[in-house]
């Protein structure tokens, strides 16, 4: 509002009472929806019996048992065998001895987590790399059937993943790509590239063409102008796009559960099958879930200014 108006706030500025009511409702909603996330975090530090206590315990004596169970496999042993063992070497040893168990070895969680990292970063690098090139071409050059090609790229997203998985399963079996990281990287790249092209085209459209034109007058070739003028200008957009691709690949479940079983399995299909003695080991599941979600929470906060654009394929820009 221009200065000089007599009123303290403009006619369209809501009254303090309205603001108060709005803040109470919104904060109330936020707190309620955060409960499941807080519960995941807290459950990770409970003992198995505290986790399934009734009434539910909000705070229990904190223990790292859930994290130990997440990272190790254990076997139950007879008391006389236990008595002969040397003293426990570390915290997880001590905790499992208390339950008449011995740590048998590492669990599959870390390999699965590493698979998730490799596949997510690999497919992100590929889709952003290829996507930047294609987006630049779509943004700057006359391409026959441009709109149709762009729509075609987007429409590949409309297939239900299970439908895509049927022929991919057959194709990968023929090519020897079943349950390989390379196969999953290529698959996630093909899904992410539509997002990458659409988002990046929007970001590159916003860079004035005159920058490149001027660079080319100064003797740059088109390619040099692309690398030395456009790419630096598009860095923010490229990083935001990369984080979106990363989050998608990190979260993906349908392809992973259908097409991987061992060496290329990612964390999402693995976490639900963490079981202890007599059913699911909820503290271990919660611990695995917490470690899996933390990177996304960090990225979401970093990305908050670009979220809107990312989730609408660039259709809505602020």
């Amino acid at each position: 509002m221009t200065a000089g108006l007599a009123t303290a706030h403009s006619v369209v500025d809501p009254s303090p009472l309205t603001k108060r009511i709005a803040s109470v409702v919104v904060i109330g909603y936020a707190l309620i929806t955060l409960v499941p996330l807080v519960w995941i975090f807290l459950t990770g530090f409970k003992s198995p019996s505290d986790a399934i206590a009734y009434p539910p315990k909000i705070f229990a004596a904190p223990t790292l048992e859930g994290y130990c169970n997440l990272f190790t496999t254990r076997t139950r042993q007879a008391p006389d065998y236990m008595a002969k063992l040397p003293p426990a070497a570390n915290l997880c040893d001590r905790i499992s001895r208390g339950r008449n168990m011995v740590v048998a070895g590492p669990s599959n969680y870390i390999p699965r987590y590493i698979n998730s990292l490799v596949i997510a970063f690999g497919s992100t690098a590929l889709s952003v790399g290829l996507g930047t090139l294609a987006a630049y071409a779509f943004s700057r050059f006359k391409i026959p059937l441009k709109d149709d090609l762009l729509f075609f790229i987007l429409s590949t997203r409309m297939m239900p993943p299970i439908a895509v998985a049927i022929p991919i399963y057959l194709m990968y079996r023929e090519l020897g790509l079943s349950d390989t990281k390379l196969g999953m990287i290529l698959l996630y790249t093909s899904v992410n590239i539509s997002l990458a092209v659409w988002l990046l085209k929007g970001f590159i459209d916003e860079i004035p063409r005159e920058y490149e034109d001027a660079a080319m007058v100064d003797g740059y070739t088109r390619l040099q102008a692309f690398f030395k003028v456009v790419l630096p200008q598009a860095t923010t957009g490229i990083v935001a796009t990369a984080i979106f691709c990363l989050i998608f690949a990190w979260n993906e479940y349908a392809f992973a559960v259908l097409l991987t079983s061992g060496s290329a399995q990612t964390a999402p299909p693995f976490i639900p099958i963490i079981i202890g003695e007599g059913g699911q080991d909820w503290p271990a599941v919660a611990a695995g879930t917490t470690l899996f979600l933390i990177p996304i929470v960090v990225f979401t906060v970093l990305l908050r200014k670009h979220l809107l654009r990312g989730i609408t394929f660039g259709a809505v820009r602020k």
Partner: protein, 319 residues
């Protein structure tokens, strides 16, 4: 994005160079660069999207079974399509999917728009709370959905406990995931918990796109707040609401992760959405030809509905 301050030499040159002159400056021919840049993306999509799609179409006319690769493959014509369209189980799955899409869209639109409208009142700290509200939608539906099975446990689950504390019903008297009338709602609740923020964020953009002067003019005309809401706020935010529903509708039509982990389609087949039926046919019963035909039908349905919807959206936008 673009810096306003500190114009470099290139920036300043940019302001004075006519584009026509600039474009004549050579290098590798423009057309060559365009094709070199686009071809890798297109090849990848052809290899991993289009070729499999064509393969699926071919399979849908056969009796092929992926678990018997050496059995003779017979061309069965349209009989797969025929049996799908007359299969009551398939129609049941489509009905479950449609009802699921309807209720999630309704709840998320009402809730999401209300939240956006309240956040747009710009109370103190609204930025922080908006970010916090957005968190669930970025998380993995599978991993978080899996944890919800714990919250839904009778006896020990937090959800049952809270409902019991508020209504006085014993917490072990109902099982969200195992009772026929409750299981669909269990999924609707988790889906809405995750995706209401999505609708909210897009609605918020819509509300912020309405210029202040329209409200100022309405204020001058002494239009009541009620009237302002119905004649300005809602109509002007409508294209955004519809866009959110489009994106979420497509996603929820394809819905798989959460249902697979929460109920697996059960109890019975009360929550068996189309993707779950498709998974059963393709990867449990291994009726590859039959499920390929089903996949094609689903794809055509999503594609067709989305196209009709986009036409409606464009009509609203151009009003």
């Amino acid at each position: 994005m673009t810096e306003q301050t500190g114009l470099s030499l290139i920036d300043r040159a940019a302001l004075v160079t006519p584009p026509s002159l600039a474009r004549r400056v050579h290098g590798l021919s423009e057309r060559a660069i365009a094709w070199v840049f686009i071809t890798p993306t297109m090849l990848l999509l052809l290899a991993i999207n289009i070729f499999p799609l064509i393969w699926t179409i071919w399979l849908s006319f056969t009796n092929y079974r992926a678990n018997r690769p050496n059995a003779p493959v017979l061309n069965v014509g349209l009989s797969n399509y025929q049996s799908i369209l007359t299969d009551p189980d398939v129609w049941a799955a489509m009905t479950v999917t449609a009802r699921f899409v309807f209720w999630t869209m309704l709840i998320q639109t009402v809730l999401g728009f209300t939240l956006a409208w309240l956040i747009d009142k710009k109370f103190r700290g609204h930025g922080l709370w908006t970010t916090l509200i957005l968190l669930p939608m970025m998380l993995s539906p599978a991993v978080v959905g899996n944890f919800w099975t714990f919250l839904y446990q009778p006896q020990i689950g937090l959800f049952n406990y809270v409902v019991a504390a508020m209504t006085g019903v014993p917490p072990s008297s109902f099982q969200m995931l195992a009772q026929v009338p409750l299981a669909p709602w269990a999924i609707v609740i988790v889906d809405s918990w995750m995706w209401t923020p999505y609708v909210m964020l897009i609605c918020l953009a819509g509300l912020r796109s309405i210029p202040d002067y329209i409200y100022e003019a309405a204020e001058v005309d002494r239009a009541s707040p009620w009237r302002q809401f119905w004649s300005i706020t809602l109509p002007m935010a409508l294209p955004f609401i519809m866009l959110a529903v489009l994106f979420r509708g497509i996603e929820n039509f394809k819905m798989f992760d959460m249902v697979n982990l929460l109920t697996g389609g059960g109890p019975g087949s009360t929550t068996e959405v189309a993707s779950i039926t498709l998974k059963r046919e393709a990867f449990e019963k291994w009726r590859t030809g039959y499920s390929s035909a089903f996949a094609i039908i689903l794809f055509v349905t999503v594609f067709g509905l989305a196209n009709i919807y986009v036409k409606a959206l464009n009509r609203v936008k151009s009003r």
